[in-house]
Assembly symmetry: D2
Homo-oligomer: 132 residues x 4
Amino acid sequence: MFTTRIYYQDTDAGGVVYFANYLCLFEKSWFEYLFSVGISLPEWEKAGTYVLVKNAFLDLIEKLQYGDIINVVTAVKEVRNAYFVLSHTVFKEGKTTTKGETKMVCVNNEGKPKRIPEDFKTKLLLNVSSAQ
Amino acid sequence: MFTTRIYYQDTDAGGVVYFANYLCLFEKSWFEYLFSVGISLPEWEKAGTYVLVKNAFLDLIEKLQYGDIINVVTAVKEVRNAYFVLSHTVFKEGKTTTKGETKMVCVNNEGKPKRIPEDFKTKLLLNVSSAQ
Amino acid sequence: MFTTRIYYQDTDAGGVVYFANYLCLFEKSWFEYLFSVGISLPEWEKAGTYVLVKNAFLDLIEKLQYGDIINVVTAVKEVRNAYFVLSHTVFKEGKTTTKGETKMVCVNNEGKPKRIPEDFKTKLLLNVSSAQ
Amino acid sequence: MFTTRIYYQDTDAGGVVYFANYLCLFEKSWFEYLFSVGISLPEWEKAGTYVLVKNAFLDLIEKLQYGDIINVVTAVKEVRNAYFVLSHTVFKEGKTTTKGETKMVCVNNEGKPKRIPEDFKTKLLLNVSSAQ
């Protein structure tokens, strides 16, 4: 679980979090989540595997404002040879405020698509969420 | 059609446009598109109607890099009483690189949901795209 | 001391942190620093005092990259009736990588300049750094 | 002169442009300015010269809000062997709203400092502003 506060930089003149910034919150959450299950994205890059977003989906349910403290929970929803899907949920005081998903693919140093490396995939499979 | 270049600020260490920044490109495009069909979002705010994103969807097809010149085309896909859907397509040299959609809702000064005002809705309906 | 990691969203195609994003790191750091000395910026806003940046200065000394863990230290450098100056230093593994300053002013609900409120100023004065 | 509008993404919950985003406006302006005097930054990167910001300074004079149309003017203030200084001024309806400077240095493919290449420097020198 990734915990952060909402800062001015996250908001817009409407007084709430700017919609695109939720995807930035998701990135922070999935980095720390994957790290916690043994997948260090910077280490995988050094080994020639880059993880890219192919699709993203975002659902804004409740507003978030300057100063709010939030939790973001990332879970593994689906794992295939060529991609995996992560779900992301933002909570404020236990209440769901935002949901989203990102479909991720792997590319090599030249940006060419590649399968998810076996060790990477195994760690994902061990953590597939049953409660999605 | 909104034309811009890809600047450093749009990219990340992977060498391409950071995925969340496509949503920022979409916002610029929909602002100018709506303005071009007679809907000035800042004017509507002064009149008590705020347009918020409820959902967003993003599909990354081809990479975009520093220095690229791109066009973003926004179209009206669907109009209902309580929401409307815009589609956004990014082109580089005539080729589709990115697609997305945003579902928009209206709120009043207190952030309460409201119907799309009649004049706003009429202008959207006049511009519903038949080719989506 | 504010601790964070460098995520993709902080970097650019040059492979390092995008220069403007250091100011975003500073904001997170000063929010938490001021909060730790009893100054909650969102609470002061509710009471009609908004803190704005008037000037910012930035000095990039060493590069920061994706995955780096950094500490940002904010200190009070100067306090006057109409403004105060904060200094910000980014450290990676104990080494200074970035320095900066922000000169802050207060405005009221209508955006008009105002003196720093007495209680706010007192808390700043108690924390003026002698080692700047 | 670089012309743009202020979009939601540029603003914060204070209702005005977020201070760090001025540096992003500066980058767009200097890219287009340098391009207009024959210096294409992406081309120079392909030739092994990367331009980095070493220092930045920012002075916020008047507020900018959602929907505002602004002009940013970049000028060459100083050129040395190892660095050059650009000044940036934001105008709204002919009135200066923001000023800033960026000190730029060159590095090679490995990120090592290098002199400004002769052809690059010559083009800068031809455009040094006398009216700063």
